[in-house]
């Protein structure tokens, strides 16, 4: 297939294959791995998109006191089981309880704490 002297097959093939090869995190996904992996657990992946469907921003960032900064919160399992941070909802009543370890600790090992989601993500912010 040609356009003038230009062979188009390689271009077409690239167009078809490239989208299949590209994989990226969802916009606003947070990797939390300050302590997880050093304490033997895989990193936590926090999806903003899932939570914002259910809760306004200020529920977590004002009411629960999450600083909007990846790595800016000292979250421990102790605090979670006492109802702080994630534990305000992840208590087996509003959302699944903390003993479902691998629903949150679901990340690939070796990931660094940060915010992800493609080239358009510049965060984490400064608060």
């Amino acid at each position: 297939m040609k356009l003038g002297d230009l062979e188009l097959w390689p271009v077409l093939l690239l167009f078809l294959v490239l989208p299949l090869a590209v994989a990226w995190a969802e916009y606003g996904d947070i990797i939390i791995n300050e302590k997880a992996e050093s304490e033997g657990m895989p990193p936590v992946i926090f999806p903003h998109w899932f939570h914002r469907i259910r809760f306004q921003c200020s529920v977590c960032h004002v009411e629960l006191g999450f600083k909007p900064e990846a790595g800016g919160n000292y979250i421990t399992m102790d605090k979670i089981s006492q109802g702080q941070f994630c534990g305000a909802c992840h208590n087996g009543e509003i959302a699944w309880s903390p003993e479902n370890c691998d629903l949150c600790h679901s990340g690939e090992r070796g990931l660094e704490t940060g915010i992800k989601g493609g080239h358009q993500t510049s965060g984490p912010g400064i608060y």
């Binding site: 995190a25 529920v59 629903l103 984490p124």
Partner: protein, 185 residues
Amino acid sequence: MLRPVVHGLLILSGVGFVSATLLAGNWSTLENDGLHDPSNPSLRLLQDPAHALSVLAPDTAGNKVDWVAAVEQGQIQPRTSIDGSRIPVEHDSDIIMSNTLSLPAVRFPHDSHNSWMACEMCHDRIFKAEIDGNDISMSKILDGEYCGLCHGAVSFPLTECNRCHSVVGEGQLPAADSGAAVDVP
């Protein structure tokens, strides 16, 4: 005889696939998003982004969801507080920021922000609640300060110049956005 037709179909499907992938939803599955461990058996219990996001008001950037429209259209009703009891603030003033050199001035709408946040989210931790009280610049925003705390992280990204720089003055050209070829509602 059929070759031109086959070629045409191939090109159309290729272009359609690419534009659908790049401009509309291009949500990865959790298994291949580069973050989740595909060998984790619990992944099948978690929701894939496309399952939730593909039915919401579309956008061309960020999550490919127009989150403000999704609330306005009643597609989602995010709780105002843990128990849903906080009364949303009804403060709909617009702030115009016109110190923008050759770019159109910025219109900041309080109302669409109030549909997501209580006042305390921004005031006074990020923005002093006074006109001309904040030394905002694009370089600070790109560094994650002021508007850039959320825009470029979770809210529509900083590639969408014209959504903020929206007050086009006389003799000014509209600002750009990353989806210029696509109608954004």
